[in-house]
């Protein structure tokens, strides 16, 4: 029995796929202060799961639809007199609560709620891995294509306008990418920890970056390392895989923060 048993290989591939897509997107989430936006989109996914099970459609489709619907709702409601973080906080937690209530109504369907909340990466199949990589590829292409425009719009909406870039369009592209990440990551880390996969690698990478591109690359590296580290810990210590991956990322974040503090005081 080797470490590279089949399911571990599949889990690693799925995890790294999510990490590669989540990391550069997570950089934008951090730069644009959209952490709660990520939460709200991710939490809406549980409602998507309930709907998909009710109407017996694909989970992926249900999650994607609800994540997009949530993102659209936020876009419509924002700028109507609510403080953004209050609005997003309300929506994020309401979506989670409503989702959990909706799932409880599903009689006769056995739902492994924990798998959706915290992920079930050790149970991914080859087709799951393919879906994850297809989604990741789509997100990376999208970000590659829009990179410069997204970055300009992130800096300042008027600056983007004056350069002929529509900040609203870039916001929609971000939203779409976020919905895809949520849809493919739900199996890997679950709705509660998706935001962590976005934020922690990006926050960790900030210490070692002097350009946006480098930060995105470093975040991908940190994200992939957390996946491998977390899976290894999960395998040897028999801990839940999704939370272990996030914990591994947190450990790297703490190391990075300490290095940052030491180098700053040393200067």
């Amino acid at each position: 029995m080797s470490f590279f048993d089949d399911f571990i290989v599949l889990a690693s591939l799925a995890g790294i796929g999510v990490a590669l897509a989540a990391a550069p997107l997570g950089c934008f989430v951090v730069w644009r202060r959209m952490a709660y936006f990520g939460d709200a989109t991710a939490h809406a996914a549980i409602l998507g799961v309930a709907l998909a099970l009710t109407f017996q459609t694909s989970i992926l489709g249900g999650v994607l639809a609800m994540a997009l619907l949530m993102a659209g709702t936020i876009s419509v409601l924002s700028g109507r007199g609510y403080a953004m973080d209050t609005l997003l906080g309300v929506l994020a937690h309401s979506a989670l609560a409503l989702g959990l209530v909706a799932v409880s109504f599903l009689k006769g369907v056995r739902v492994d709620l924990m798998a959706y909340l915290f992920g079930d990466i050790l149970a991914v199949s080859l087709s799951d891995v393919i879906i994850v990589w297809a989604g990741a590829f789509l997100i990376l292409v999208l970000l590659w294509w829009r990179w410069s425009f997204l970055l300009t719009a992130t800096l300042n909406p008027e600056l983007a306008r004056a350069s002929g870039i529509s900040p609203q369009r870039e916001q929609m592209i971000m939203t779409l990418a976020l919905a895809i990440v949520v849809a493919v990551a739900i199996k890997v880390v679950g709705v509660l920890l998706i935001t962590a996969m976005l934020l922690i690698p990006a926050a960790t990478a900030r210490t070692f970056s002097n350009s946006p591109e480098r930060m995105a690359a470093m975040a991908s590296l940190v994200g992939s390392m957390s996946v491998l580290g977390g899976l290894y810990a999960s395998f040897t210590l028999d801990t839940p895989a999704g939370p272990s991956i996030v914990a591994a990322g947190t450990a790297m974040f703490i190391c990075a923060s300490m290095i940052a503090m030491l180098t700053r005081t040393g200067r």
Binding site: V30, S148, E158, L159, A160, A162, S163, A202, N210, P212
Partner: protein, 248 residues
């Protein structure tokens, strides 16, 4: 040549009109300054011209292919976003290193490319913004209170730079400012705004207009005169000396 013209435009912010029936134009090579108290719609007008705000009524016409260089009032860069001056200049279009260096030298800050944006002084930061705006060889340069946070010497130097830029690039310049004295001395035309256009014309003409006096009081006249080095009208001498006492 008329670059931009706004006809009878009304712009609303969530229902309430920020600007009402505004007529505005800017011609090639002109320096126009917009003055007005806080909340008078100055930034709204600029944002309308760059296309960031929709018109509720009226029309906006731009010369086809008009290139706009925009220098925002304030650019907050999130501390989590690592960005060097060089990288900033390449947004949204990548430029060559020698072009970037020339652009920085142009605005008087050569060799700053490798510095992080967060580590710049206020004056350097504004010059970087100006350098970026000039990279596209704009027909129209728009500056929204670009000297906020600079001291008087700093902003005077900045406006001197603007006049240089106009002379060399031949672009029209549209500025918003609170700093009446410096700006008015550097403008061809001044537009006074307070929800609508109160008055407009050459700086000296506007300074004596009753609408202008009503908006800014007469205390500012002395300052304008001071910078123009002439006194073409009588005013309350005590008042002006008192006001300028601390500058000298």
């Amino acid at each position: 040549m008329r670059l931009v013209s706004l006809r009878n435009a009304t712009i609303r912010h969530s229902g309430t009109p920020a600007l009402e029936s505004v007529n505005f134009y800017i011609d090639k090579g002109e320096i126009v300054t917009i003055l007005g108290p806080n909340g008078s719609g100055k930034s709204t007008l600029l944002r309308t011209l760059i296309g960031a705000l929709p018109l509720s009524s009226g029309s906006l016409e731009k010369v086809p292919g008009l290139r706009i260089g925009y220098v925002p009032q304030k650019l907050h860069i999130d501390p989590t976003l690592p960005l060097t001056v060089r990288r900033f200049l390449s947004l949204p279009k990548r430029i060559k290193d020698d072009v970037a260096e020339a652009a920085l030298a142009d605005v008087g800050i050569p060799g700053l490319g490798h510095r992080p944006m967060a580590g710049l002084s206020g004056g350097q930061f504004q010059r970087v913004l100006l350098a970026r705006a000039l990279l596209t060889k704009p027909d129209l340069l728009i500056l929204d209170e670009a000297t906020q946070g600079l001291d008087q010497a700093g902003s005077a130097a900045f406006y001197q730079k603007i006049e240089d830029v106009r002379a060399r690039f031949g672009c029209a310049v549209l500025m918003v400012s609170h700093e009446l004295h410096v700006v008015m001395a550097a403008s061809d035309r001044v537009v006074c705004l307070n929800g609508h256009v109160c008055c407009e014309g050459a700086p000296a003409q506007v300074a004596t207009a009753p609408e202008y006096k009503a908006l800014f009081g007469s205390g500012t006249h002395g300052t304008l005169a001071l910078y123009r080095h002439e006194h073409d009208h009588s005013h309350e001498c005590d008042h002006t000396t008192e006001e300028h006492g601390h500058h000298h």
